[in-house]
């Protein structure tokens, strides 16, 4: 640790809605390729598909409130030579149709792009039935199904383009919160490729989705305290960039993971499972523990320490553990 310096006052970065990017990019793909169709469950508005429907009324298939049918129909559309983007609120798409995702999409190898809308605790006040925090755990357990968690506009665009071009199905979490642009243009977006957003030597914070900007904020604050933080982003939670994660464990000696998801099986569990077998180092896992109480999303993120301050605390804890 070096001498204390005063951090410059942060300038609030402009924030953007990734759902807008989802709608724009999907519509652009539909213009380029007549095989692209959107499938939803009475979620035209909440999936931001109104513009798509207006431009391609025949190619917006609404199966009504029927998620198992939704995913099965998606698999059939793929079998019939189309490229379906199946879009629904994350908790219902993944939980209610989990077996369809496993059997009809992943195991069958039907190329369906599963788009989980309003993930994490975006529907905070509506309660745990409407929180999509288990999706990463559930879908990481399904073979042959990449799990993508884009962070900002650039990554959301990259994720949609990657999913469109991929040979098989995937799960794509569409961020709901407005977020600043934090991923540099041209950053890698491929299975097993992490993005290094900041170099550092004392500890590595691995963050995904809408929490990445908070990890960067924490890293800046910690730099002011003299702690050098490496920040990694892994837009593919599955398959993980094992090489980069293990190198970070070896070079920085401590890890913190940050996700808007349950701790039982998501990013933190994936990283812990990897490093415990190949390069054990102290870790702190930030995420959601148990069902969330009532509150809006901002409150709930604060409640679970999913803030720059919470990340800063976790870094101090893991460094203390590393010293012992």
């Amino acid at each position: 640790m070096t001498n204390t310096i005063t951090a410059p006052a942060p300038v609030p970065a402009p924030v953007y809605d990734c759902r807008q990017v989802f709608a724009e990019e999907l519509t652009a793909l539909a213009r380029e390729d007549s095989r692209v169709v959107a499938v939803c469950n009475d979620s035209v508005g909440s999936s931001n598909l109104t513009g798509f429907r207006d431009e391609f009324p025949d190619r917006l298939i609404n199966v009504g409130i029927a998620e198992q049918d939704l995913v099965g129909v998606g698999a059939g559309l793929a079998n019939g030579g189309l490229i379906p983007f199946v879009s629904a609120a994350g908790p219902f798409l993944t939980g209610r149709a989990l077996e369809q995702i496993k059997a009809d999409c992943a195991y069958s190898g039907h190329k369906v792009v599963l788009c989980g809308q309003s993930p994490g605790m975006a529907y905070g006040e509506l309660g745990p039935t409407h929180h999509s925090i288990e999706d990463l755990s559930w879908l990481r357990a399904v073979a042959d199904l990449p799990v993508l968690v884009p962070t900002d506009r650039e990554q959301t665009r990259a994720a949609i383009r990657w999913a469109y071009a991929a040979e098989g199905p995937c799960y794509l979490r569409i961020p709901r919160f407005k977020v600043p642009d934090v991923i540099p243009p041209g950053a890698p977006f491929a299975p097993g490729r992490a993005v290094t957003l900041r170099e550092g030597t004392d500890v590595t914070v691995i963050a995904i989705g809408t929490l990445v900007s908070r990890a960067l904020d924490a890293a800046r604050e910690l730099a002011a305290e003299g702690i050098s933080v490496r920040v990694l982003n892994t837009p593919f939670v599955d398959p993980l960039d094992e090489e980069t994660v293990l190198r970070a464990a070896a070079e920085t000696g401590a890890l913190v993971t940050v996700e808007e998801a349950t701790l039982s099986g998501g990013l933190g569990a994936a990283v812990a499972s990897l490093v415990s077998q190949h390069r054990p180092v102290p870790m702190r896992l930030l995420g959601v523990n148990g069902f969330a109480p009532t509150g809006d999303a901002a409150f709930l993120l604060e409640h679970f320490g999913l803030t720059a301050e919470g990340i800063r605390r976790a870094v101090h804890q893991v460094l203390a553990a590393a010293v012992v």
Binding site: A66, D69, G72, V73, A75, G76, N79
Partner: protein, 293 residues
């Protein structure tokens, strides 16, 4: 992925020519012979593997034979031709009947049937499209094939293709809610190229369907969901052929095929224990003798 048996595929082309160009009597004669062959294959497979769902395999046989022998436009040597008709076996536990039919048609060599459920075999206990040509989607858990069939029929419409989609469901399977979601979607979209066949053998794994969860009045239910319902004897090839005629009502067609579980083997017929009981050697010989008559 298994590959086609060219000689068997050639025989299948001749068979299709006979059922297409021959008179009604010849068509039925060819289909009956094919049914006998498929049933013998099923018994032999299950004897070798000591596993399988023999009762439902034998009840669905004549439905599969009518479809592959006379209705579907498919080519075993080009199983992924984009313009092919789509056949989906939603009652995936009756994989032995499907595999027997596919090998008969030349999708893969007959010898593969001997590997049914053996370690590393392509012929899982439930159909896998990544290993077996002619399988369109992986089934086994019930209530999956029908929504997928709705999706393929929707794709045909969107792409302006005339191809058909046929899905075969178990009657017990109609207790799954996802099937009624799919029925509602197909009815709403008026998917006339879609045919759903219910193998109505009235038995499920544990008991009679009507003692488990009542399905009747089944035809009324389909009609209420926007379908044209046709009820036929599911062992009568002539009635099945008529039931597979295209829809003239602008609605998808549900064929309720009344069948007998264990059909063709008298001591298995309509008996719940033959859902997945394996016959002993004496029973195998008796079954083969009876089916060969």
């Amino acid at each position: 992925m298994l590959t086609a048996d060219p000689a068997a595929a050639a025989r299948y082309r001749d068979l299709r020519k006979a059922t297409r160009d021959g008179g009604a009597d010849e068509t039925l004669e060819v289909l009956r012979a094919m049914s006998t062959d498929i049933r013998l294959r099923i018994v032999t497979m299950i004897d070798r593997s000591q596993l399988g769902h023999i009762g439902g395999d034998l009840s669905v046989t004549d439905i599969l034979v009518t479809l592959f022998g006379a209705v579907l436009d498919v080519d075993p040597e080009h199983p992924h031709d984009p313009g092919r008709d789509r056949f989906i076996l939603s009652k995936g536990h009756c994989a032995a009947a499907l595999y027997s039919t596919l090998s008969h048609c030349g999708y893969f060599p007959d010898a593969e049937l001997d590997t049914f459920m053996a370690p590393l075999s392509a012929l899982n206990g439930h159909p896998n499209r990544r290993k077996v040509p002619g399988v369109e989607t992986n089934t086994g858990p019930l209530g999956h094939g029908f929504p997928v069939a709705v999706g393929t029929a929707l794709a045909a419409r969107l792409r302006g293709e005339n191809r058909r989609t046929v899905v075969v469901l178990g009657d017990g399977e109609m207790q799954e809610g996802s099937n009624w979601e799919a029925a509602m979607t197909a009815g709403h979209y008026g998917l006339t190229s879609l045919t759903a066949v219910v193998d109505r053998n009235r038995l499920q794994q544990g008991a009679r369907t009507e003692d488990t969860k009542t399905l009747e009045p089944l035809a009324d239910k389909w009609t209420a969901f926007g379908w044209e319902a046709r009820r036929v004897d599911g062992h009568d090839h002539a009635q099945l052929l008529a039931a597979f005629a295209p829809s003239a009502t602008g609605r998808p067609v549900a064929v309720i095929a009344d069948t007998v579980k264990g059909k063709g083997v008298s001591f298995m017929e309509d008996r719940v224990e033959w859902h997945h009981k394996v016959p002993d050697q004496q029973q195998v010989h008796a079954a083969i003798e009876e089916l060969s008559r």
